[in-house]
């Protein structure tokens, strides 16, 4: 029983560690994205080298976040993995369907402005959040 207690504590500690690690990587990615976005304009006047470095660092943080997200997913128990994957599948569908329709609206002149990728990212974030909430409520 002591052995199983140790394993349980290990599992819980690992899940917590994965969550914290994902939080750090996400924060780092967002922060470096802000640096790569605003740095050229406000800090180094579009100098090429710092801009390339900022983009490369942001890409590196992005890949780190992907790895951390994968590790987080693998560390979840099977119900939470299912909720996460269901929400991901829903988000992928919403992103594909709405993203293409959004682009189409501009192509066929139903909207006069250029579609922004940030709008799609916001929609996908909301879809993922809604998917997670729905999943948690479903299995309450």
């Amino acid at each position: 029983m002591d052995d199983s207690k140790t394993r349980s504590a290990d599992w819980a500690a690992t899940a917590k560690r994965n969550t914290v690690r994902l939080g750090y990587w996400t924060f780092a990615w967002v922060a470096t994205m802000a640096v790569a976005t605003f740095g050229p304009k406000y800090v180094w006047d579009f100098a090429t080298l710092p801009t390339i470095l900022a983009v490369l660092v942001n890409l590196g943080m992005g890949f780190g976040m992907i790895v951390a997200n994968n590790r987080y997913l693998q560390g979840l128990d099977e119900l939470h993995k299912k909720i996460f994957l269901d929400a991901g599948a829903f988000t992928l569908g919403v992103g594909l369907v709405c993203g293409l329709s959004y682009e189409l609206l501009e192509n066929i002149k139903l909207i006069s402005f250029e579609p922004e990728i940030s709008h799609l990212v916001m929609l996908m974030s909301l879809a993922f959040l809604a998917g997670l909430i729905f999943g948690h409520r479903k299995y309450q």
Binding site: K5, S8, D77, E78, L79, H80, Y139, Q140
Partner: protein
């Protein structure tokens, strides 16, 4: 899929949190299995069977057969 997890847990005076800890899953997962909203994977079913010292069929019953 029907199961006797709640009965077996109650017989041992275990909380859902205690069972979840033994099975290395969250309390929500134990609750969802007990309420038959979620079917566990085969490895988790084996783990539960080992924990209670029973066979999988003693804990989980296929609804199509019952």
């Amino acid at each position: 899929m029907k199961n006797r997890l709640k009965v077996l847990r109650a017989e041992r005076n275990w909380t859902q949190a205690k069972l979840a800890s033994e099975l290395e899953v969250s309390r929500q997962t134990v609750n969802a299995i007990e309420k038959e909203k979620f079917d566990p994977s085969l490895p988790l079913a084996f783990k539960a069977a080992r924990l209670f010292g029973l066979s999988i069929e003693d804990i989980f019953q296929d609804e199509a057969q019952s």
